[in-house]
């Protein structure tokens, strides 16, 4: 639950007063907030999306603000995974058009690779 709250806090950073209100509310309120966030993400995505085509992560390097959710989408005919070098995050196998999202709650440089084809590498810089 702590993780969920952190993620919510991170996602809604610009609307902090609203977040605080929600976090102070009952659990049901938090769940409602989460649903709202998901809907917002669906409409504004793409900017923080990393695509996989031809065994390549594009963009290879992505810089985002703390709290950003990054989404990886696999367009290849072959499954890939997204594994952070220190395994702070690891996706399951992504088949064609499957996606994986991860919210970066803290600053840093995150080198990642495909666990099946480790010559595929990329980096997310969180500031």
């Amino acid at each position: 639950m702590q993780t969920l709250i952190n993620q919510l806090r991170a996602r809604l950073a610009p609307n902090r007063p609203l977040v605080v209100a929600m976090l102070l509310g009952p659990v049901i309120g938090a769940m409602f907030a989460f649903g709202t966030v998901a809907a917002q993400d669906a409409t504004k995505k793409v900017a923080n999306e990393i695509t996989i085509d031809n065994f390549t992560f594009t963009p290879k390097e992505l810089t985002v603000a703390v709290g950003t959710t990054v989404k990886w989408v696999n367009h290849d005919d072959i499954p890939h995974t997204v594994v952070e070098k220190k395994t702070s995050f690891r996706s399951k196998a992504l088949d064609t058009d499957d996606s994986y999202s991860y919210t970066f709650a803290s600053a840093g440089e995150f080198d990642y690779f495909c666990g099946l084809h480790p010559h595929m590498v990329g980096k997310v810089i969180v500031k």
Partner: protein, 315 residues
């Protein structure tokens, strides 16, 4: 498809047994072991006619059951065709070595479908996993539950047959970012111990999914610590290395070592560097079976050299 050019490499290896590999492009590779150094003997039928007393085994690879994209919408169908070739062989191979990527996504139904078709061969199959066989939620548990009996670690093992020492290695787990295939220290230590009591004249067949030698680093076609394994095998008079993963034939002889990669039964992949990526290669439907295959190996006691024959599903 027979690969010529490995003849006349006799180096006075005497009575050593050597492996003849008949790669049956499109479905599998039929191997024969005879006494010395690799050479090819022609297509499978010729080879069998020439060496009727040989001990044979078959290599199959990269069946990718569950894959259904345009490069081959029916991988189970082409596997069935490969198995039909095996069933039709005049002399049944003693066993089959499958060099991984049995399934595409490690799903139980994919393993079930593959096992059902493999079962029709009536021949024992020795598996090693490909990276596609260990992408279940528990990263390899599904594979080990089915095929890992008697194996060590992530599924490596060895066995002896007809005086040959067979070693199945796993180089698809715990891969490092930016790297290639990986055997790991634990497996290498096991290999060293496994070989310790073997005499230099014991013929060795070692098989793994990703090529042990680096074929094309840019596409990850090689094994990071593969040379460490090959160094342990250097002292043996006859070493045959069988791999899959790259969905095309590649053969090479270095000293007493012969390297061979098998065709897939599912779909072809491009030659190194010839395409933007190593993804499935789309070929016209009527050409698909010319690029899928099996390899057969016949082992003959005595002084005969090793040979490799490739045969496609279309052949």
């Amino acid at each position: 498809m027979a690969k010529k050019g490995f003849e006349d490499r006799g180096q006075g290896l005497g009575r050593r047994e050597v492996l003849e590999c008949m790669v049956w492009a499109g479905t599998g590779v039929l191997w024969t072991v005879s006494g010395g150094v690799p050479h090819s003997v022609g297509l499978i039928g010729d080879a069998l006619a020439a060496e009727p007393t040989g001990f044979t085994f078959l290599q199959m690879s990269d069946s990718h059951i569950g894959f259904n994209k345009p490069a081959n919408p029916d991988t189970l169908g082409t596997l069935r065709e490969a198995v039909a070739k095996v069933k039709a062989m005049p002399i049944k191979p003693s066993f089959i070595i499958h060099t991984g990527d049995i399934t595409h996504l490690s799903k139980p139904a994919e393993f079930d479908d593959a096992d059902k078709v493999f079962g029709e061969t009536g021949v024992q199959i020795h598996f090693v996993p490909g990276e596609h066989d260990i992408i279940d939620e528990e990263r390899g548990k599904a594979y080990l539950e089915r095929y890992g009996k008697g194996s060590k670690g992530a599924g490596w093992y060895s066995y002896d047959d007809h005086g040959i020492h067979f070693i199945g290695l796993v180089n698809v787990v715990d891969l490092k970012g930016g790297g290639l295939g990986n055997l790991g220290a634990e497996q290498l230590a096991w290999l060293e111990a496994d070989l310790k009591d073997k005499s230099n004249s014991t013929p060795i067949v070692v098989f793994a999914h990703i090529p042990l030698q680096v074929i094309y680093k840019e596409w990850g076609w090689g094994t990071e610590d593969g040379m460490q394994a090959l160094n342990l095998l250097k002292r043996f008079g006859s070493v045959t290395v069988l791999n899959g993963h790259i969905h095309q034939l590649a053969q090479k002889v270095e000293g007493n070592m012969t390297f061979h990669t098998a065709l897939s039964t599912a779909f072809p992949q491009p030659a190194p560097g010839s395409a933007p990526s190593p993804g499935p290669m789309l070929v016209p439907a009527d050409k698909l079976r010319t690029v899928l295959g099996l390899s057969t190996v016949t082992v003959v006691q005595g002084n005969k050299p090793l040979a490799i024959v490739d045969k496609t599903l279309a052949g």
